[in-house]
Amino acid sequence: MFSIVRKATIFTIVFLLIGGISFAADSIVIKGSTTVLPVAQGTLEAFMKANPGVQISLSGGGSGEGIKALIDKTTDIATSSREIKDKEVELAKSKGVKPVAHVVAFDAIIPVVHPRNKVTNLSIDQLSQIYQGKITNWKEVGGEDLRIVVISRDSSSGTFESWDHFVMKKAKVTPRAQMLASNGALVTAVAKNRYALAYLGIGYINPSVKPLMVNGIKASIQTAMSREYPMSRELYMYVNGEPGGAVAKYIAFVKSPAGQKIVAKEGFVPIVEVKKTGKKK
């Protein structure tokens, strides 16, 4: 009895020591973007079911947080809704980490309004004017005579960076804009406010908000994949170098047709053509 306990203890210590240097082969830590969270969650559940020996822990925190964790070697996979920044690559190099990107899905960013709002289409230019605070009333873009309440994600979120990339092009978002901390908070705010204009990742669109067309093009899995819809972006999983074992297997699974089927089911756009599997909810 005693020896079993002692063996277990020694094993645990050794395990932890190894874990501190290079992660144990059959446990994976994933951290990062809240946008990529549903993709990671869906794929890891299927992956763990197929590989019962593998333990995967997943947490959000944001793209920057994930990459930070990858650099600090506290995560195996960093999910991100933006490309890694040069500064981060430098910092990673100085710590002996080599971030390698894997594109796992596409996301489309869609402007949303309250379901009662009559506006159905905005051009990218109009969106930019509104977010800069130059257009402030819905009647200027074909709606009712109501003030526009501009809602944005926080300026450090990956979604904001994509919005900046597609719409603002480095122009400053008006300081009067409400900056909300999560996609969920944003859905709630828009669903309850008929003055509001906000933007969301395609995975967060639900019937409580009304998606707008952009430049006359309706956002959908099809138009995003064909790049006809002007605001779609890549979602990444970053790993350190060329990992072996479970991490490599998991990444391969996410990129496989089976994994991409889950991506589509979660409301994102798969990187390869997969059979249509009905939209989320």
Binding site: G64, L91, S155, S156, K170, K172, A181, K192
Partner: protein
Amino acid sequence: MTRHTKEIIIKYIFFLFALVSVIVLGLIVFSLFREGLPLFGEVSVKDFIFGIEWYPTYDPPSFGILSLIVGSLIVTLIATLIAVPLGVMAAIYISEIAPQAIKEILKSVIELLAGLPSVVLGFFGMVIVAPWLQETFDLPTGLNIINASVILAIMAIPTISSISEDALYAVPREFKEASYALGATKFETIAKVIVPSAISGISTAVMLGMARAIGETMVVLMVAGGAAAIPESLFDSVRPMPASIAAEMGETPYRSPHYQALFAIGIVLFFLTLAFNLVADYVSHKFRQIGSGTL
């Protein structure tokens, strides 16, 4: 081992325990300053405190936090205006007027209020108060100063009420008896004898309530709206300092100027709460009752 050495050993063990919190505080303050101060190599303290443009992720970035400071102060001030009368009156009722049974119920309900997680209150403000405010007053947004202040007031009431109540209890019996003996009514006794004798404790309660409100993060993150502009009306959205730190810390590159700026906001907050505590300390000394009324 003699009894004397045992005593000494025990004394030092307790000293060590007492020291732990001091060390922890010291280390936290140290790291706060170590991470935050390097910012002032790039931005002057004046531009940081009095700049009104908070664009930390742009190129070039602007790190002006005046609108965040104003946001914090205004929600704290209004929350205090709401919470102080409610909290102090409740304390007076509980300690002086209420019959025993009601007292018991009230006290435990207020304690329960103190135990509500802030995220629950924030959610309440976001999903129930905000749409209600918006519909009732036909506002562009329900996530605004008033909403945040009301929710913060709800959070500050238990602090203010329970500390005030302790102060009121500590007023010696003789004071009341003397007052009644002079023919004062119950109201006169409360207004002219009991409350003035407990004023130092009540002021401490108010200050601690304010410190609670200014440092509260989750509520302002969820219901203040998050607009980093100096508000023009009480129905505008603001972005108090803790909300900025909480919302942005997760996605800033490690040790970038933005990261340092968030720590620097932490330093400002630290000084603000320190100021509240110092004022509370000063007030409680200044108005301290000498004699049997000493707290």
